[in-house]
């Protein structure tokens, strides 16, 4: 087991945690941030897998742009306000 393997293992654990957080966090804005973090983690894997083009794209599109889209949509959906969210999150998994 090399150092790279350890890095990969740690990142995989982080990714899975991030994905679970994106699915389970009560706060939807936090969940969106977790999703962007997952994309960022995946783009690190692309660097490790010798795919710099894909890594750049995933970081720019998957993490940056899609995160921005999610944040803007969350604002229009009124998810930035806590009280609205709680009433809507009552029966959410």
């Amino acid at each position: 087991m090399t150092a790279l393997d350890l890095v990969i293992l740690a990142l995989v654990a982080l990714l899975i945690t991030g994905a679970l957080a994106a699915m389970l966090l009560r706060n939807l804005l936090g969940a969106a941030v977790a999703t962007a973090l997952v994309s960022l983690g995946v783009s690190v894997f692309f660097v490790i897998l010798r795919a710099p083009d894909v890594a750049l794209t995933e970081a720019a599109v998957g993490a940056g742009l899609s995160g921005l889209l999610l944040a803007l949509a969350a604002r229009r959906l009124g998810l930035w306000r806590i009280e609205v969210q709680q009433s809507e999150e009552e029966r959410q998994c």
Binding site: D53, L56, A60, V61, L65, L69, R76, C93
Partner: protein
């Protein structure tokens, strides 16, 4: 409740099934018949140092055309769903200006982002990056000033012209090959010297079209979602 556990079981089973399938594959030693053939000849026949660019724009150019069309379709569909013409976002409640520091920062960033965006696009055939990545930077450059001065958003009509003409330019470059008795989307102008800025024939031009189209498209999407909807 039962369906919930059933679904979880299904997802776990699906993942396990995929795992048992993929673990049987030669991890790290793929067959790559077509891929290896491209690696062997791309440098000579296309002339782009970045072979992924050769694949994206030359070997699988029509995939990229389809992808641009998908982005265009998505932007059109978002316009259709959100309705009407794009309107400028209302000045925010703290009375418009996002503060002196934000405004100055954006003023400094805007030209910088433009330069970086075009650099990434035009070096797409040499280094990692290209139309998509550069296009995202361009979109960011267009959208950032809106944060500082909500009243000065780029005109939707100008964005529509850029995206329409850039898309048409991509197809026109492809059609130009027909005039020279080549198939649709054949790269023209020769391969050039590998590693030069002016190499790989029409590929940098195609990437420029891609970058402009992606930039305009994404800026449009962001601006539409940034509008203050009645519910917000």
């Amino acid at each position: 409740m039962l369906t919930r556990y059933g679904s979880l079981l299904f997802a776990t089973g699906f993942a396990f099934l995929l795992f048992s399938l993929f673990i049987a594959l030669p991890m790290g030693e793929p067959p790559t018949l077509a891929g290896q053939a491209i690696l062997n000849e791309a440098a000579n026949s296309v002339g782009a140092a970045n072979i992924v660019t050769s694949v994206v724009l030359a070997y699988r150019g029509i995939d990229t055309l389809g992808e641009l069309s998908i982005l265009f379709a998505a932007a059109t569909a978002v316009g259709l769903v959100l309705g009407g013409q794009a309107r400028a976002p209302r000045p925010s409640k703290e009375d418009g200006a996002g503060g002196f520091i934000l405004q100055t920062g954006v003023d400094l960033l805007f030209p910088l982002l433009l330069v970086v965006g075009f650099y990434i696009i035009l070096h797409g055939h040499l280094t990692p990056g290209g139309g998509f990545q550069g296009g995202v930077v361009l979109a960011a450059a267009l959208v950032l000033p809106v944060l500082a001065r909500p009243e000065e958003s780029p005109s939707p009509a100008a964005l529509a012209w850029v995206e329409g003409l850039a898309g048409a330019a991509f197809i026109a470059t492809g059609l130009a090959a027909l005039a020279y008795d080549h198939a649709f989307l054949t790269p023209l102008l020769g391969a050039g010297q590998l590693g030069d800025l002016f190499s790989a024939g029409t590929l940098p031009l195609l990437y420029l079209a891609v970058g402009l189209k992606v930039g305009a498209e994404l800026a449009k999407l962001l601006l539409r979602l940034a509008e203050e909807g009645p519910a917000a």
